[in-house]
Symmetry: C2
Subunit: 323 residues, 2 copies
């Protein structure tokens, strides 16, 4: 996997943005930590997912790649595959749930992809994606459970370590585990003493449960605003890396995610989606003790509907009035 | 002024953030331009104002500076002076209107400044600030009409040119003219062929009127959501530089500002305040023809109330539903 990471680093350079690393004195004062945020919300298409998609699609043999790619995704992976396909000038078909946020549907179509809703054709998404792959000769680009997706995702934390040096702690949002296992891999290479901790929504704690039980636990439909972490379970590839290299997995409730989003928007001027602030929320809510430590915080993405953002912020403003 | 810019560049280095320059393929496709955004919303305290305040306060003789500083400001300059004073460990008194956004009041107090509301003491703000200056020995830090404030503000565009090279066009938000005159100065030094255009809110078009008439025009209380551009007029210092180095001044209505804010939030993942998107709005609305050109867009700041943002975005989301 280390060789894959090194190759991915070269491959994505000049294609993925080298996203900015930001700090917040206000947060440092509150937590007693020295934090560095890796802002993958400012990545192309608004999330770290571009890295894995690019790293994977770039390695498909050209004649095969030319026929196109297919992916299933609740959102950000869809946009990533669509945008990478557009760059390579190849067709992309995205299998999506009909509850995906409108902004993600619009953006995916905007990148030229064809969208097929799996919950409206009476087939499960994996089955549908596989059928499309077979019938049209499209290569399936998995959302997280693939070594090249993980190696691509790993380049974000790799850049963070390169920029800020050693860290005591690295907090990473956890959905399917691509970013978490990749970040842990990068820490292993750049700073083996760094404790890497995954953060998932309380209602979708399959990762934490799997981590404790030692086998893949599954949650049917996690009810959380963190739509990027509504994955039902980790995959064998990501789980294996997480078991080996991750120190712990903690959870945060949705209310903390909204508070963290408001902090990101008001104080850091960053639009971050609920899944994107999982790590920040763990730090702000004290679910991870960080006093006196150098802490890396992965901000995984920033895609959300204007209407939804308006509702979250209005609710938060009301809460403040009541206090 | 060129020597002042060069000195300011050295002075603010390591104190002001070198803010990221960002791009948007989506916007480039819509406008036919190649745009580069200088994101001063990601500057310390959330706006370019830190640069001018730091550059000015750093030059006050130490014994005088120790007694403290005073400033009047509708918001961002207040936070800038408060934060710089905190860094130097000196007192700061900020004279503010009572209608200043709550988030700006909170942040200013958060940086340790004392706030005095001028519209509640029956005195005009200049008079009050001068009295405080006299009585307490505080040095007045003007919001824009001062060569060192302008030279500090100029360092933002200076960094942009350094990073992206030549530009055909540079669009800059216009309130009191500190950022615009500074940006024009930087263009003069780095890329004299670049046309620098100021953008102000339609309801507060004192700058455009002054530019055309050749003398300082004044608007009593501009009614616009762009609270950073509610200045009543340019100052003699900024006006002189603007007349000499700026190619044109255009205006945009508030509705375009909300649309531009939504684009910044949804597509670029940047929280930008209404004043901050003036230049972006001019580009998006076609008020400036940019097809085929390399265009720099200054994003001046990102400070706004969560409750207000929620209302603007909710209104916009409703509009979209209706269409």
């Amino acid at each position: 996997m280390v060789a894959r990471l090194i190759a991915a680093r070269e491959r994505v350079r000049g294609h993925a943005h080298r996203t900015p690393v930001m700090t917040s004195l206000t947060l440092d004062e509150r937590t007693g930590a020295r934090t560095a945020f890796k802002c993958e919300s400012l990545q192309r298409m608004g999330a770290f997912k571009f890295r894995g998609a690019y790293n994977t699609i770039a390695q498909i043999p050209e004649a095969v790649r030319a026929r196109g790619v297919v992916a299933f995704s609740s959102g950000n992976h869809a946009q990533a595959v669509a945008l990478v396909a557009q760059e390579f000038g190849i067709p992309a078909v995205i299998v999506m749930p009909s509850w995906a946020p409108q902004s993600k549907l619009d953006a995916t179509r905007g990148y030229g992809a064809e969208i097929v809703f799996y919950d409206q054709v009476g087939e499960d998404r994996d089955g549908l994606a596989e059928r499309l792959s077979r019938e049209r000769g499209l290569t399936l680009v998995p959302p997280f459970n693939h070594p090249e997706i993980v190696a691509g995702a790993a380049t974000a934390a790799d850049e963070l370590f390169e920029e800020v040096g050693d860290l005591d702690l690295l907090l990473v949002p956890l959905g399917g585990g691509g970013l978490l296992s990749g970040s842990a891999l990068a820490a292993r290479v750049r700073c083996p003493s760094c404790r890497v901790i995954g953060v998932e929504p309380e209602a979708g704690d399959d990762g934490a449960r799997s981590f404790r039980s030692g086998r893949l636990e599954r949650i049917e439909t996690p009810e959380t605003i963190a739509d990027g972490a509504r994955t039902q379970s980790l995959g064998p590839v990501t789980f294996e890396l997480i078991r080996r290299y991750v120190a712990d997995i903690v959870t945060v409730p949705d209310a903390e995610l909204i508070r963290a989003m408001a902090f990101a928007i008001e104080r850091m001027k960053l639009m971050v989606e609920p899944t994107g602030v999982l790590a920040l929320a763990a730090l702000m809510s004290g679910r991870v003790e960080a006093n006196g430590q150098r802490v890396g915080v992965m901000i995984s993405g920033g895609n959300a509907d204007v209407a939804q953002i308006a509702r979250w912020l209005a609710g938060l403003a009301d809460d403040r009035q009541l206090r």
